[in-house]
Symmetry: C2
Subunit: 265 residues, 2 copies
Amino acid sequence: MSLEEQELSNELLDNRSPLIKRFSHLHQLNNNEIDALNKIHEQTTVLDANEIILHKGDFHKECMIIIRGWAYRSSMLSNGKRQVINYYLPGDIISPFALLQPKTDYSVASLTILETCVFKPDYLLQMFSAEPRLALIYGQMLGREDSLSAEQIVRLGVRSAYERTAHILLDLYYRLKLIGLTDGEETYFFPITQELLADTLGMSFVHMNRTLHKLRDNNLISIDSKQMTLLNIDELIKIAEYQPSYSQIGLNTDINEIIESTNLH
Amino acid sequence: MSLEEQELSNELLDNRSPLIKRFSHLHQLNNNEIDALNKIHEQTTVLDANEIILHKGDFHKECMIIIRGWAYRSSMLSNGKRQVINYYLPGDIISPFALLQPKTDYSVASLTILETCVFKPDYLLQMFSAEPRLALIYGQMLGREDSLSAEQIVRLGVRSAYERTAHILLDLYYRLKLIGLTDGEETYFFPITQELLADTLGMSFVHMNRTLHKLRDNNLISIDSKQMTLLNIDELIKIAEYQPSYSQIGLNTDINEIIESTNLH
DNA sequence: CGCTAGGTTGAATACGCTCAAAGATCGTGG
DNA sequence: CCACGATCTTTGAGCGTATTCAACCTAGCG
């Protein structure tokens, strides 16, 4: 198969799977690797919106990849306060560390209708054994998860309500852009209610409402029937002191070089 | 070598290396695995307190394991506000995801004098290839890192200053207890200044001071020359709604079972 | 013994919360 | 297809937690 044919093949598969899209952003995949990833995608499951997918404390016997829709991981305190820890978008694995954790720490719920691929964690290990480069790319994905968590910590710790809001809207925008879920107008589907967003950014939903209004009044965003539009990305970046993380752009590390240096090949 | 001898050997090595101590909390290690881990420990480096170890944006060519001392990862905004993302204690790897990340996202600094073992990320890959069980245990460690980050997010998002402070003091206590760095009196070495702790919990150092005083006035803690004593752990747990995470107790997953199910053995 | 980093305290202010009530939108069943 | 209920959004007003500014105190180290 020529390089051209391979790239075409990659592209076709990209259209089917946001996971493969994500992986191939990190590194050019060969056909064996794509085949291995495709095996996971053999069948998909569709879940309703607003359903709890993983209960806190459950033993998890299976992993999930999101094909379509949004989910989120959260924690609830006894006083009724809820904190959203992170969002899962198409191509994300819920939860990637599940691989080796016997129990889930926090519950995960679907935010929209969710199309997922379910597979046994064992399959990942077998796949990594057969295609070691995929283990490395998976490791990079885990590193990105860690970066996203760190961003959330910084957001909550040192930014004002206004800055926090601008920051997360940019964060979601760039994550969605990477998998082709934004249009040219800096618009994206935004299914988060103001109450949930408030629980994400550690503020009351009343103040969330006022903060979003302030962003609208300043002509920075517009929201129309769950469509979020960033009207002035440069200004938003300045307000939020947003740094488009390398982890959202794609990496240039030559994984083959790392592989060569070990006896994994 | 009899089982008894092996356990003795484990214990001897535990005394030398907090990393091996951490790993063997997750799973009983055999001698080959201990040897592989020991190779990393061949020589140690000592760093001064309050030195930047990793600059944001650096390419990192090496990993570090902390043998002795504390370090922390933080982010600084242009307005001078600083957010501590997490602390690294003996047995922790700085930063574990470094393995595959070309650049560091956030800077890491030593808080105390730091004794570390430095090694090339490649060595980890070679080690995992030779001793696949260690890769799985490493994966569990990464999962624990993720849990700790999630805890920090929940702390900052939904807890009051008073609760946050109680919570992190418990968190550090249990992490240190796991590696034998607390004494029977619920006392531990606490090198964090009030200003740094304030930057960890997203509050001003003035309010940090008042919050610590309130905990002292309520006979919950006492601080004397960098020794932190938790005077009433049960009450602190109630205030903070602290949940001693499974990740801090050790896991019971049978890794051999997972290995058996793949062709990694 | 003096300097510096860290800790303490007071007072004024502000950001964001709570409580409360009304308005808009969406989905569903009649 | 419209009406109804439920969920989500909006707005006002009073309050409280935590911030800022400013000054002073203390301990450790050269």
